[in-house]
């Protein structure tokens, strides 16, 4: 694995319009179809919860729109590897859902209903843990998960396992002291941790230039003596391949920093209005590289699916989202008698 950043061809020629996924190495067509199916499901849920927020049914949501290729590309690599554990962050809706939640479980989480798989309605949607799908994110305190991920990797090593830990965070999180501490410890102990920065150049309204004085965050890896790579986070295959490589490296040699350049299509959360601070047209331009559209186009161009099949997948996803919404809407919130449960573990 090179110690310096690589840019994918995709990133290099991506001037927005008409970007197109390359065909993957080591992925079967069936993988791509599966990926697309999940991607479109996730997007459909993502759009729905935003609408449900406006209807007063979902108190808060952070959208993954624009980050999906990064989240699903890396997830796919982790799944192919088979022995990875994930510490995502609050924007990783696509990752968390695609990792194994049903649409109904997801909707229950967003509405704070009993049976929310992450926290049983105690936390913000999809905060907590989903151990069956090998995911922990106990809080949305920015950067707090990084040292925990490193510790998890340490615990795995102590237990004699070869698990690689993927920990996700935004460009804003790079400023936190704990991000430094986590990378430093991981480098000293050569722990199998992949630090994945989903860099969308904004922390709420704060632009990257107010967050760091360097061009590429991945450059910071060299100050810990491990490799840092920047990839086009709008491109599924780049994200998949870079993560696969990183997993191999991490398991044998220690940490890797993977910066994925993504776009935030929506406001920071449903509570935010990005028109206050984003230049006009920026989001529209970014949307021309929408990973959902891009992948659909590739599947059709490469004759893996027909337009009709693509439409059918989208229709099925929409239907699943509709059903999930109804189920969640009709289900009960946690009973107030449970307020005191599990303050302590038995």
């Amino acid at each position: 694995m090179p110690r310096k950043r690589t840019t994918t061809t995709q990133a290099a020629d991506a001037n927005g319009a008409r970007a197109k996924s390359r065909l993957p190495k080591g992925l079967k067509n069936a993988d791509l179809v599966d990926y697309y199916t999940r991607l479109i499901q996730v997007r459909s849920i993502d759009e729905r919860i935003w609408a449900l927020n406006r209807q007063g049914k979902v108190p808060i949501a952070a959208s993954a729109q624009g980050h999906e290729a990064a989240q699903l590309g890396s997830l796919l690599a982790a799944e192919k590897d088979g022995d990875c554990f994930l510490f995502p962050y609050y924007r990783d809706l696509a990752l968390k859902v695609a990792a194994g939640l049903t649409p109904a479980q997801t909707m229950m989480s967003f509405m704070g209903k009993a049976g929310d798989p992450y926290s049983n309605g105690r936390q913000f949607p999809l905060q907590g843990a989903d151990l069956p799908n090998k995911i922990i994110q106990i809080s949305n305190v920015v950067a707090a998960g990084l040292t925990q991920a490193v510790g998890y990797a340490l615990g795995c090593r102590m237990a004699g396992e070869k698990t690689v830990v993927l920990v996700y965070f935004g460009d804003g999180a790079t400023s936190q002291g704990e991000t430094h501490e986590a990378m430093n410890f991981a480098s000293i102990h050569k722990l199998p941790v992949i630090f994945i920065c989903e860099n969308n150049r904004y922390a709420i309204s704060t632009p990257k230039t107010s967050q760091m004085a360097i061009e590429e965050f991945s450059d910071r890896a060299s100050s810990y003596g491990f490799p840092g790579i920047t990839v086009d986070g709008m491109d599924l295959v780049s994200c998949y391949e870079a993560t696969r490589e990183a997993i191999t490296h991490a398991r044998s040699q220690g940490p890797v920093l993977l910066e994925m350049l993504v776009e935030r299509f929506m406001s920071h959360t449903t509570d935010d209005d990005d028109r206050r601070y984003r230049p006009e047209g920026e989001v529209e331009r970014a949307r021309e590289r929408d990973p959902v559209v891009t992948l659909a186009r590739t599947l059709i161009d490469e004759k893996i699916l027909t337009q009709k099949q693509v439409d059918a997948i989208a229709a099925a996803a929409l239907k699943a989202t509709d059903e999930a919404t109804d189920i969640a809407d009709a289900s009960s919130p946690p009973d107030e008698s449970g307020l005191h449960d599990m303050v302590y573990s038995p």
């Binding site: 108190p59 808060i60 704070g112 209903k113 009993a114 926290s119 309605g121 105690r122 936390q123 913000f124 905060q127 809080s139 949305n140 305190v141 920015v142 950067a143 804003g172 999180a173 400023s175 936190q176 002291g177 704990e178 922390a203 709420i204 309204s205 704060t206 107010s210 967050q211 760091m212 509570d271 935010d272 206050r276 601070y277 919130p333 946690p334 009973d335 107030e336 449970g338 307020l339 005191h340 303050v343």
Partner: protein
């Protein structure tokens, strides 16, 4: 006088003090063009420039440490913590350093700094956007702690805090931001730190509270008034300095004390008020000191049902007061 919301009062206080003193500046996450996530600094970057309304990197420890360093140089920083839940990474600079800078240099250094933070729950914020953090500051000598309940108090106290030469933790209950509105004088005024305010006089029970729950206490007091029980409601306004005189006087008058807050009951501010009465007004107490407070549960679940179960409410308070009155 115009009717204003708490957030408007806060914004006005900052604006006036920045206009009055060029040493005053604001630093925090998204305080600039965004105006803060609650819009406390809306329009101020345009008015005062990005050198005095500084969009900080996402790193609370440095926001606090840098503000502290600037205060050493004689500036009057107002660092903003976006939600009180995120103050923890900065707490060494606050509890360990800022609070002790004056004492530890025998007065050579002053720390004229106001640490603003929205706190508290009842807004579906879940475990990490609802926290009550006041006790940690209340228990730290060297800090002053302010927790206003009304727009009038918020503005007058914030202006005093900014002019104070000590680190002041200024706690704004985020549910009051838009919910609580009230008259705010057009003319300049300040309110002294360290003075409680009797928001309702009464003779049979003293209720001590602050912030959001103060309003719930007033509602409960109304309810009890209709039942013939005359409740005095003391609004602490500042937790440090604590106005022990006003509290003790009221307790000596009524003989019964209840303390209400949203923060976890064990070891909370209410414990100190109770201990104060048990220690210095013992002869006057006609009944046990009652605490109607948040339960000992990590603050505070997201689901509406659980949040309601957690929060003190006018009904829960009225119940408690009723029992105390009957004692």
């Amino acid at each position: 006088m115009a009717v204003k919301s708490v957030i408007e009062a806060v914004r006005e206080a900052i604006r006036e003090e920045m206009a009055r003193d060029p040493k005053v500046f604001v630093m925090g996450e998204d305080v600039g063009i965004r105006g803060g996530v609650f819009l406390a600094t809306q329009g101020l970057a345009e008015e005062f420039g990005n050198d005095r309304i500084i969009d900080a990197p996402l790193a609370e420890a440095s926001i606090m440490g840098i503000a502290l360093g600037a205060a050493f140089r004689g500036m009057r920083p107002i660092p903003e913590v976006q939600f009180s839940d995120f103050v923890w990474p900065s707490i060494n600079q606050l509890i360990g350093e800022a609070a002790r800078s004056c004492y530890g240099t025998h007065g050579a250094l002053q720390v004229p700094m106001v640490i603003r933070m929205p706190y508290g729950g009842g807004i579906r914020g879940g475990l990490f956007h609802s926290q009550n953090v006041e006790t940690h500051f209340f228990h730290t000598p060297g800090l002053k702690v302010v927790a206003p309940s009304t727009p009038y108090d918020a503005k007058g106290l914030l202006k005093s805090a900014i002019r104070d030469n000590n680190p002041v933790v200024f706690l704004e209950h985020k549910k009051t931001y838009r919910l609580v509105r009230g008259e705010v004088p057009d003319d300049e005024y300040t309110l002294p730190l360290g003075k409680a305010d009797i928001k309702r006089t009464g003779s049979t029970i003293t209720v001590v509270s602050y912030g959001l729950t103060l309003h719930y206490c007033l509602e409960a007091a109304e309810e009890l008034a209709s039942e013939g029980v005359d409740v005095e409601v003391v609004d602490l306004r500042t937790l440090t300095p604590l106005d022990t005189e006003t509290i003790l006087e009221s307790v000596k008058k009524t003989g019964k004390l209840a303390v209400v807050h949203e923060d976890n009951i064990t070891g909370g501010v209410g414990a100190e008020i109770a201990a104060l009465a048990a220690g210095q007004a013992f002869e006057y107490l006609d009944g046990p000191v009652v605490r109607i407070c948040g339960p000992d549960v990590p603050t505070m679940p997201f689901a509406q049902t659980l949040e309601d179960a957690y929060m003190p409410s006018p009904d829960k308070i009225a119940d408690g007061l009723r029992k105390l009155a009957a004692y």
